[in-house]
């Protein structure tokens, strides 16, 4: 029997009928298959060892030339900087950094930017980045590599990473003396964490455009000098010269990752210099354990996916990805364990400097942008990865649940309609098609549009001029708008009476849109798509619009749907996180703290979306909230069917 050339006259497929009887079982089977496939990915048979596929990188081909004097310089610079920091409690010692860059003979510039904070009456913040360009002696400035170090003022709440700037400067001094650079090297010191980096990147790439000042919150300004198209970037966060291990951070904006070659390169070079380094490295994790422990691998995968899913970069490198620049952060942790094996302080930074030199020289060899290896991968272990072809089936199986359910529901639509209509069919000509034709497409479309509109408002309203002028601070404002929209969505099915047949159609369209949304979100950010799928697919499968369904089951589905409201999910996630962070709190305190934290989280997500271009907030408002509203409508189905028997009769 050919799929396209099936000669049987009836479109009524027995297989479909049989499958439709076991629709939920089939769907749950697919769901389980997807989850099991995902679990299997942690097995060594399902993932592969990493390898370098870009030959031009040739890591470790040259002997490192950086010597002890660079270390001495770094230590001396650190001492100077520590003295400067005493006078600059909450600012950056720009003058000192500038002077040093100039002293080393770099083309030095500063970059000013302004943040117009939209909330709380519109405050303005100013910031300043310092960067020096080392022009490539061998080529006109067509390509560049960025080495950046964030500077944190002593008043910062984050971990102290003062040593990064001296390290960067010491490397800059070394690099300036060499004549083999084929790409411009940019040494960049940013302040105010990711904001400074974002401003610098925006200025670098879009600075010459006319600023569209009405709508933008970050005024990046322009740069006085550039260095061609940026090929790669390395962000350095060093807590101390005496390092315990290096954590390589790769997750970028919207879950984007640098090319796997870049990660491998860093791993190779670090290994050669004898530095303990790894992905999500912790003090106790071994760098290379041959018996890849299943549980450990799975934890690693989940840890990576959860970092990725929020779409918030976990370092300054993440913002480079937006401009197609492969970047990662090497974050060196201070030595606290085994303090008795203290290394010689006069040469402590040498391995790190050598590693940076090695990375720089490999990047210098690049003939074109990173393109050989994977951009979509999950790191299982420091030297093992899963490629997109292996992990995507898990998500596809989950998305397939909803599509299969949609197909089966659609093909059995006639049967359900017949059983719903008590009176026998009067018109003989009205076959299957005319039932499908007479479905209330218009009202369903309008309902979908209404749900979408409610969600979309979540995007527009908090930034509306009128609302911004209200004398309320950002967090309660955003949260109250979101709650109001959710309540609106909650109430929508109680107010709007859909014509008969609309629920079935709404159900099918929900399933299709849901499947589509999962696949698209999964393509853009696999982690987010996968987590959402794992959380919500069982509920979507359980949804049942038939009036004959079990009432306890139905109320269970309703509770389930309510629990999966985007706001509730965010609250629960924040609650769990605060439970682990503050185990000493009582339940009441915990609930309250989680509520404020969730409010803050929604505001941060909104700010992230307008300043950095993180689309998580947009996705939640415009995709998940409308989908939830429709789910909720469907979960309430029974009450509404019994409420409108008269309207139904009239139409019949």
């Amino acid at each position: 029997m050919g799929l396209l050339s099936d000669p049987s006259l009836s479109t009524h497929n027995k297989l479909v009928d049989n499958l439709a009887k076991h629709m939920r079982k089939v769907c749950y089977a697919f769901y389980t298959a997807g989850v099991i496939w995902f679990m299997c990915l942690a097995l060594p048979e399902f993932n592969h060892g990493t390898y370098l596929s870009e030959n031009a990188l040739s890591p470790g081909l040259v002997y490192p030339e950086i010597r002890i004097d660079a270390n001495r310089l770094a230590v001396q610079l650190l001492e100077e900087l520590q003295r400067e920091r005493k006078d600059h409690q909450s600012t950056t010692p720009h003058a000192w950094i500038l002077a040093k860059f100039k002293e080393f003979g770099l083309e030095t510039h500063t970059h000013n930017y302004t943040l117009r904070y939209p909330f709380g009456g519109g405050k303005e913040f100013h910031g300043k980045n310092v960067y020096g360009i080392l022009r490539a002696p061998r080529i006109g400035s067509t390509e560049g590599i960025v080495f950046s170090a964030p500077y944190r003022a002593p008043s910062s709440v984050h971990v102290d990473i003062t040593s990064s700037v001296p390290l960067l400067l010491a490397f800059a001094d070394f690099a300036r003396r060499k004549n083999y650079w084929a790409k411009d090297l940019i040494f960049l010191v940013t302040e105010q964490e990711q904001l400074g980096m974002q401003a610098w990147l925006e200025a670098y790439h879009e600075g010459d455009r006319d600023p569209d000042s009405t709508n933008s919150y970050l005024l990046a300004g322009n740069l006085p000098a550039r260095a061609g198209s940026l090929q790669a970037a390395l962000n350095i966060e060093v807590q101390d010269f005496e390092i315990d291990y290096i954590d390589v951070k790769i997750e970028g904006l919207n879950g984007k990752l640098p090319n796997l070659d870049m990660f491998n390169l860093v791993q190779r070079i670090m290994a050669r210099e004898g530095v303990t380094s790894g992905y999500k490295q912790t003090p106790r994790k071994k760098r290379r354990s041959s018996l890849s422990n299943y549980e450990q691998n799975l934890r690693q995968i989940l840890a990576m996916l959860s970092t990725q899913s929020s779409g918030v970069p976990n370092g300054n490198h993440g913002l480079f990805h937006r401009y197609r620049i492969d970047a990662l952060t090497i974050s060196a942790a201070k030595r606290v364990t085994n303090s008795n094996v203290k290394a010689n302080p006069s040469s402590a930074a040498v391995p790190l400097l050598k590693a940076i030199e090695g990375i720089a020289r490999s990047l210098n060899n690049l003939l074109e942008r990173f393109h050989q290896s994977f951009f979509f991968y999950v790191i299982v272990h420091n030297d093992r990865y899963i490629s997109i072809g292996d992990y995507m089936p898990a998500l596809v199986a989950l998305a397939a649940c909803s599509v299969i359910k949609a197909y089966l529901t659609w093909s059995t639509l006639e049967a359900t309609q017949k059983s719903d209509d008590a009176n026998p069919k009067t018109e003989t000509a009205s076959g299957l098609e005319s039932i499908k034709l007479s479905l209330p497409y218009g009202s369903v479309l309008i309902y979908l549009a209404a749900a979408l509109f409610i969600g979309y408002m979540g995007n527009v309203l908090p930034l509306h001029q009128y609302i911004l002028e209200l004398p309320v601070s950002a967090a309660p404002l955003t949260a109250s708008i979101l709650i109001a929209l959710n309540v609106l969505g909650f109430g929508l099915p109680f107010v709007v009476v859909l014509p008969p047949g609309a629920l079935e159609l709404l159900h099918i369209s929900l399933l299709l849109i849901y499947g589509c949304a999962l696949i698209v979100i999964g393509l853009l950010n696999f982690s987010l798509g996968f987590f959402v799928a794992v959380l919500t697919t069982p509920m979507v499968i359980a949804l049942n619009t038939k009036s004959s369904a079990n009432s306890t089951l139905r109320s269970l589905t309703r509770v389930w749907t309510l629990l999966l409201n985007p706001l509730v999910v965010i609250y629960i996630i924040v609650l769990i996180m605060s439970f682990y962070q503050f185990p000493e709190l009582t339940l009441q305190q915990l609930l309250l703290r989680a509520a404020t934290a969730a409010m803050d989280a929604s505001t941060f997500a909104l700010i992230d979306s307008v300043i950095y271009g993180n689309w998580l907030y947009f996705a939640i408002c415009t995709v998940f909230l409308p989908l939830w509203i429709i789910c909720w409508t469907l979960a309430l189905a029974k009450r509404r069917d019994s409420a409108i028997p008269q309207a139904k009769l009239k139409i019949n």
Partner: protein, 426 residues
């Protein structure tokens, strides 16, 4: 045309007008799914500018619109640029109205034909026959399918010249059904000189007008050739050079622009060894034009309009620079075959295919071009799936038609020894 129909037209116009006032036109105008090198508005603007500067627009590789239309659009664009969206919307509404009247005539003809053949039909086949009600329902469905299909709306809003192609095709179908031979041949010639592929539509014309006599067929072919020459000549007199032929027909045939689109050409021609290019060029172009022409014409000789529908949709899938506007046009013709729908098994699957692949195309294009993490293979995968979905749809329609024909004469339930018979394909 009744009141409801005017209402629908008005709403369709309002929707298009609303979307043209948003930021959508420039966004869609840059989407490769809608704007191909052949039909994008940007290219027409270029052409108008070159014309204004006194440069032959067909010298370069930018403009692929025929001189007649380019001149016409340029005079509008220069003097009344702000009215151009209105003109396009109006033309699109004309297309819809033409399709509506065409389907009305078609259903009326079908009903008449049915009355003559009724005695041959089997008993339980009322639902396969066109009913009196269809005279109202089918044209309305066609109208709705054209007016409110997002694909046609967006390609109209983006001012792609697919709007013009659709109008010409609709006019051609209308005149063909109305049996106005000369006008339809002239329209077909005009559209053929613009975009090459409609040449296959000569087959339904021949079937409709010259089934009995070969000489008439040859006459029509000659007439068509003369019309083509006349149109080309008219174009020549506009530009005073023959460069435009290479700029339009040559550009289509030789597939010079490898910009990705929803079709099958670009990926193969990017990957291919250069010395095989000619061979594959001919293979692909044959596939898009004559390969299916003969078997389909023989099979569908009694249904010229179905043949036209299938040919239009096949060329929309296989042509060198397909756009979603073409897809929207043939989707609007499907309601004509409403009585076959009973046997169409894959409608829902195809719809799902369309929905998923179209949304994936957006995501993958973003990942490929802007984020730089995906590559051409991902995008081509999505377009390939989209084409597969379309082919599913076309095959499904053909099979449904064959089954309907069979059932119409043999009854829907065929009993052999008290059991329902299974029909085998041999």
């Amino acid at each position: 045309m009744d009141g409801k129909c005017y209402k629908l037209l008005l709403i369709g116009g309002a929707v298009r007008l609303y979307f043209s006032s948003t930021s959508l036109p420039s966004l869609i105008g840059h989407r490769v799914e809608f704007a191909t090198p052949l039909n994008s508005f940007k290219r027409i603007q270029e052409g108008v500018f070159l014309l204004q500067q006194g440069v032959d627009p067909y010298r370069g590789d930018l403009v692929h619109e025929t001189p007649l239309l380019l001149k016409a659009i340029s005079s509008i664009l220069i003097h009344y640029a702000e009215w151009l969206p209105f003109l396009y919307i109006l033309l699109d509404l004309c297309t819809a109205a033409l399709l509506y009247s065409m389907s009305r005539t078609f259903v009326a003809q079908k009903l008449q034909q049915q009355r003559q053949e009724r005695k041959d039909y089997a008993k339980d086949t009322e639902e396969l026959q066109y009913s009196a009600n269809d005279k109202y329902i089918i044209p309305e469905l066609v109208l709705v399918a054209y007016l409110f299909n997002p694909l046609t709306i967006l390609s109209c809003v983006a001012l792609t010249s697919t709007v013009l192609s659709n109008l010409l095709l609709a006019m051609f179908l209308y005149t063909m059904i109305r049996r106005q031979l000369f006008i339809s041949v002239a329209l077909l010639a005009f559209e053929t000189v613009r975009s090459l592929y409609p040449v296959v539509l000569i087959a339904p014309l021949l079937l409709l007008f010259a089934r009995r006599s070969v000489s008439l067929g040859i006459g029509i072919c000659l007439l068509f050739a003369t019309c083509c020459l006349a149109v080309a000549g008219a174009n020549y007199f506009v530009m005073n050079s023959w460069n435009f032929l290479d700029g339009t027909l040559g550009f289509i045939f030789y597939f010079r622009d490898l910009q990705p689109n929803i079709g099958l050409f670009w990926y193969f021609f990017t990957e291919m060894f250069e010395h095989f290019r000619t061979m594959f060029l001919i293979t692909f172009q044959l596939n898009a034009t004559v390969l299916y022409l003969v078997p389909l014409s023989i099979k569908l000789r009694k249904e010229p309009l179905l043949l036209a529908t299938v040919l239009v949709s096949l060329t929309a899938v296989f042509r060198a620079y397909p756009s979603l506007g073409d897809v929207g046009f043939y989707l609007a013709l499907l309601p004509l075959w409403r009585r076959c729908w009973k046997f169409m098994a894959h409608g829902f699957v195809v719809f799902t295919f369309f929905l998923i692949t179209l949304s994936m195309m957006g995501a993958l294009w973003h990942l490929w071009i802007y984020a730089g993490s995906a590559n051409a293979n991902f995008y081509f995968g999505a377009t390939l799936a989209f084409c597969t979905g379309q082919i599913f749809l076309i095959t499904d329609l053909l099979f449904a038609h064959v089954k309907r024909e069979f059932c119409l004469y043999n009854g829907q339930k065929i009993m052999i020894d008290g059991e329902e018979a299974r029909i085998l394909l041999e």
